[in-house]
Symmetry: C2
Subunit: 526 residues, 2 copies
C-alpha cells in the first residue's frame, strides 16, 4: 500500500536534516579523497558509472537518504508508475513513456487495447516508413530520394529530438549510418521557419509535423509556412509531410499527410524522445537500427532505476543527492556540464525535462508545499564553459551544484597531439581537474587567487557517446526527475504554469485587453 506524503511530514527527512554536514574540501583531500572516488561510484547501464565522490555526502548522509527512499516508498511509486497507475493526478492520466522502449512492468490496457503493443506497433510502422524512404520506395513526385528531414514541433517535440540528433550526427557519419540531414523549426518567430526553409532543398525534404493535440499554435503556424514554401516550389505538400500525433487529433486521418504515426496522452512531451516524437526524425536521419539501439540503452537504464538499493540505482541516488542539496543544503541551481560537444543541446533538453516537471508549488493533491522544489537547470559543454561562466562557479558568492558528463573516447576518432597529449586527453584532463578544483580549492594569501573549494559535483563517465549510451543517459535523467517529483510529492507530469500566458496571448491577438496588457500591446505594435 503506497502512501503519498509531503517531504516535511516524513520522519526520515527530519533525521536527514540532523545529520552532520560534510566538509567537502576536507574529505576530498589526500588519501581520503582517493578512497572516496573509488568507493562512491555506482555502475550505470551501457558500461557507464555515476561517481558522486565529490558530492557533499558521506556514509551517514547516504544512510539517511536510503532511509528517506524507503520511508517514502520511492521505488514502489516508480513501480506503480510503470505498471499503469494514474500518476499524473492533475490531468488524471497514466505515465507510460517507459513502454516505448522496453519491457518494464505489467501489461496495461487502455483505449481498447494493450498499450505496449500499440507503442511497439507505431515504432514498427516508423521503421518500415523510414526504410522505404531510404531505399527509394517512397520518393518525391519526381521519383527522387528525399535527402533531408525537417521536424516541426516545439517544446518536447523539439528540444529532446534536436538534442538527440546533434548527439548522434557525427557518430552516425563515421559509422556509416547517416541517412538524411535533419533540421528543426520550432519558434513562432517567422524568421525561424523562413531561415530554415531558405537553407533546405524543399523538393527533397520530408517534413515531420509533431503535435500530440494537433492544435499547438506555433506548430500549426509553422506548418503553414512549410506548405507555402512547398506550394511556391510547385510541389504537392501532402507528398512531403508526415504527422506524429494522437489518434484523436485533427492530424490523424488527414489526407494532408503521407503518413501519420501515433502517440497518446500517457506520454508527456518532455518524456517523448523515445516515442514517435523522436522516433520518426531519428529513424529517418540515422536508420531504424540506430533508433533501436537508443531505445535499448534507455530500457537498460530503466531497469537499473527499479532497484530498491540506492547504491545500485544511479537515477534514485542522483535524485536523492539532488534533494539533499536543494532542501537541506539550500542550493538553488544545478549546472549540467557535458564534456562533449555532441551534447551541446543536452542541457537545454534537461532544462525542460527538469524545470517543467518539478517547477511546482503545490503537491499532487493541489495543496501548497512548504519547501522548495525543482532547481534551475542550465549548462553548456566543457571546455567552453570553463572560458565562460565557470568563474562564478569557482569564486562566486553562491554555491552551484554541478553535474559533469564525460566520455573516455571521442565519437569521430580524428585527433591531434599537441604538447604531448591528444585533444581527447586534454578534454578528459580538464573535467578531472575541474572536479578536484571545485571540491578541494586551493588556499592563496592573495584572496583574489584563493579558492575556497567545497563546491560539489558528480560525474557520469562513459566509454563513448553512442546511441545506446545516449539512450541510457536520457533515461537516467528522466528517472531522476521522476524520483525527485516523488520526494517532493508533486505531480511531475502536468504543466499548468504555461496556460495563463497562452490565454493572455489570445486576448492580445483578439484586441481584448485592458490595463497594462493593453499598453504593452500598443508598445509592441500588435
Amino acid at each position: 500500500m503506497i502512501t503519498w506524503n509531503n517531504l516535511d511530514t516524513v520522519k526520515a527527512y527530519e533525521a536527514l536534516k540532523g545529520v552532520a554536514k560534510v566538509d567537502l574540501a576536507k574529505v576530498m583531500a589526500g588519501e581520503s579523497g582517493a578512497a572516496r572516488v573509488k568507493k562512491y561510484s555506482v555502475p550505470m547501464a551501457e558500461g557507464m558509472a555515476y561517481n558522486y565522490a565529490a558530492k557533499q555526502v558521506d556514509d551517514d548522509v547516504l544512510a539517511a537518504l536510503a532511509a528517506l527512499a524507503e520511508e517514502m516508498q520511492l521505488t514502489e511509486k516508480f513501480e506503480a508508475l510503470y505498471n499503469g497507475e494514474v500518476i499524473n493526478t492533475g490531468e488524471k492520466r497514466m505515465v507510460l513513456h517507459h513502454m516505448t522502449r522496453g519491457q518494464l512492468g505489467n501489461a496495461v490496457e487502455a483505449d481498447g487495447g494493450d498499450k505496449r503493443a500499440f507503442y511497439l506497433n507505431e515504432q514498427k510502422k516508423i521503421a518500415e516508413f523510414a526504410n522505404k524512404v531510404h531505399n527509394g520506395e517512397i520518393t518525391n513526385a519526381a521519383g527522387e530520394k528525399f535527402t533531408t528531414v525537417v521536424q516541426i514541433g516545439i517544446g518536447g517535440s523539439d528540444l529532446g529530438p534536436r538534442a538527440m540528433y546533434l548527439a548522434l550526427e557525427n557518430w552516425a557519419k563515421v559509422n556509416n549510418t547517416f541517412k538524411m540531414e535533419a533540421k528543426f523549426i520550432s519558434n513562432v518567430d517567422p524568421d525561424d521557419a523562413a531561415a530554415v526553409l531558405a537553407g533546405v532543398d524543399v523538393a527533397h525534404s520530408i517534413f515531420v509535423l509533431v503535435s500530440k493535440s494537433g492544435t499547438t499554435l506555433e506548430t500549426l503556424t509553422n506548418e503553414s509556412f512549410v506548405k507555402d514554401a512547398l506550394k511556391n516550389a510547385g510541389l504537392d505538400a501532402s507528398k512531403h509531410m508526415i504527422a506524429v500525433t494522437s489518434e484523436t487529433s485533427p492530424l490523424a486521418k488527414s489526407a494532408d499527410y503521407l503518413a501519420a504515426f501515433f502517440m497518446d496522452d500517457y506520454i508527456g512531451g518532455r518524456f517523448s524522445s523515445t516515442s514517435g516524437v523522436g522516433g520518426a526524425v531519428l529513424s529517418l536521419a540515422f536508420g531504424p537500427e540506430v533508433f533501436a539501439q537508443f531505445l535499448d540503452g534507455a530500457a537498460a537504464a530503466d531497469k537499473t532505476a527499479t532497484n530498491k538499493n540506492i547504491f545500485e540505482n544511479p537515477a534514485l541516488l542522483d535524485a536523492l543527492i539532488g534533494v539533499y542539496e536543494r532542501n537541506v543544503l539550500g542550493y538553488q541551481n544545478t549546472a549540467v556540464l557535458p564534456y562533449s560537444q555532441a551534447l551541446s543541446r543536452f542541457p537545454a533538453h534537461l532544462q525542460q525535462l527538469d524545470m517543467e516537471s518539478n517547477g511546482k508549488s503545490v503537491n499532487r493533491f493541489g495543496e501548497p508545499v512548504n519547501y522548495v522544489t525543482g532547481p534551475v537547470i542550465f549548462g553548456e559543454p566543457g571546455t567552453n564553459g570553463q572560458h565562460s561562466f565557470y568563474q562564478l562557479l569557482h569564486q562566486g558568492t553562491d554555491i552551484i551544484p554541478l553535474q559533469f558528463l564525460g566520455f573516455k573516447n571521442s565519437q569521430m576518432g580524428t585527433d591531434v597531439v599537441i604538447q604531448g597529449s591528444t585533444s581527447q586527453q586534454k578534454l578528459c584532463a580538464n573535467v578531472a581537474a575541474q572536479i578536484v578544483a571545485f571540491a578541494c580549492g586551493k588556499a592563496n594569501d592573495n584572496r583574489n587567487k584563493n579558492f575556497e573549494g567545497g563546491r560539489p559535483s558528480s560525474i557520469i563517465i562513459g566509454e563513448q557517446l553512442t546511441p545506446a549510451s545516449l539512450g541510457a543517459l536520457l533515461s537516467h535523467f528522466e528517472n531522476k526527475v521522476m524520483y525527485q517529483g516523488f520526494v517532493w510529492n508533486i505531480n511531475s507530469f502536468d504543466q499548468e504554469g504555461v496556460q495563463l500566458g497562452k490565454v493572455l496571448a489570445q486576448k492580445v491577438l483578439a484586441h481584448d485587453t485592458e490595463g497594462a496588457l493593453s499598453v504593452y500591446s500598443d508598445l509592441l505594435n500588435i
Copy 2:
C-alpha cells in the same frame, strides 16, 4: 575624487533596504498597471526603450536607487574607466573596449601611442582586408574566391562573435550584404574541430585564429587540427589563416598567417566583440559597412550610459534594479529571454559577460565581501522557452527575475497569417502576455491552476534587430555589468577563478597527480 567603497558601507544602501517593498501584482493591476507601463520606460539608443514597469520598484525604490548611484559615484567611476584609469586592479590594466567603437572619453596614451588611433587603425586594416577578400584581390592559391570564414577561438573569442553572427546572418541575407558563411571551432573536444572541418570546403575557407596571448591551449590545438586538414587537402595553411592577437604574442609576426590584426591587454575577452575579435569574422561575413553600423549602435548606447540621471541612463538603471533584486530582494538568478530566434545564442554570450565579470567574492582590493554579487544568467529564445522551463518561472518555489527582449518587426519579412494574425504578431503578443502573467498572476480555486504573480520582469523593445540595434543591445549589457561591478566594488575585469582548473589539468596531462585527482585520471583513462 572617487572613493571605492563596499556596498554594505554605503548609507544609501541602508536606506534602500528600508524602503517599503512593492506588491508587484497589486501595482500592475488595472489602471495603475497601465500608468506604470507608460511611465516606467527609458529611451535607449537606436530607437529602443527599456521598460521596467513590471519590476518590483516604485518611485520610492527608484529614488533610493538614484541616491545609491550618486553616493557610490557610479557615473564618475564609469567616466574614470573610459578615460583610462587602471580599473582592472587585479591585473593592473586599463579597460578600453569602448574605444574600439566610439569617441567616448579623453585620449589615452599607452604602449607608445594613442590607443584610440591604434584600435581605429586595426579596424581599418580589417576592413581593407575584408574588402580585398570580397573583391577577389585576396584569393586562395588557385586564384578562387574564399566563400567561408571559420573562427577558431574559445570563451570571449567565440561566444560573442558567434552570437553576433547568428543575430545578423538572416538580416544580412535579406539585405544583400551577406558575403561569406561563418563557422566556429571552440571546444578542445576533438569532435568539434573534426565535425566543422568535415562540413566546410577548406580550399575556399579562410580561418581566423583568435587568441590575445597566442597561448590559449584549446585554440592552438584547434589550429593544429585546421593545419592538418589544409595540409591533407594539399593546401598551404599560411595562405588560409589570419590571426587576431596582441602585438606581443607569438602569432603577431609569424609567417604562418596571411595577416595579423591586433588587440591588447586593455580589451578583455568577454568585452571584445567590437574589437578585431568580432571585427574580422563579422567584416568577412557581412562586409565592413555592416560591422561599422554595429559599432555605431554600440557607441550610441555607450553615450547614453554616461548620463548622470538614472532615468536617462538605461544601462545604469537596469544595473541598479538588478542589484536591488539580488541584494535586497534576495533573488539569485536572472533569465534572459529574447523573443527573436536570431538571438538564440545571445543569452550564452551574456552568461559569460555577466558571470565571468561579476562572479566574485572579493572586492577590488582583494578583501572578502559580505554580500552576494553576480547572479546566475541563463536563457533561451521565446516562444521556445514557454514550452520548456517557463513552468518553473511561473509556478516554481523560487522567484527568478526576467529580462525580455522584443522587436516589433521580423528580420526577414516573410510571414503567414493563421487564425487572423501573423507569426510576428503572435510572437509579440506572447511576450506582452508573459510579462503580465508573471507580474499579475491569476487566482484560481484549483491551486494547481493558480498563479501568484509578483514575478518581476523588464523588456527592451526595439523596431527591428539590425546591426545598429544589436550593437546598442550588446553595449547596454556590457555597461550594465560594469555598473553592477562598481556597486559591488569588485573588479569585473579579471578571471582568477579559471586558473586553478588550468593548473590541475596540466598536472593530469603530465601524470603528476595524487589523491582524488589521480583516481579520476585513471577512471577517465588519461
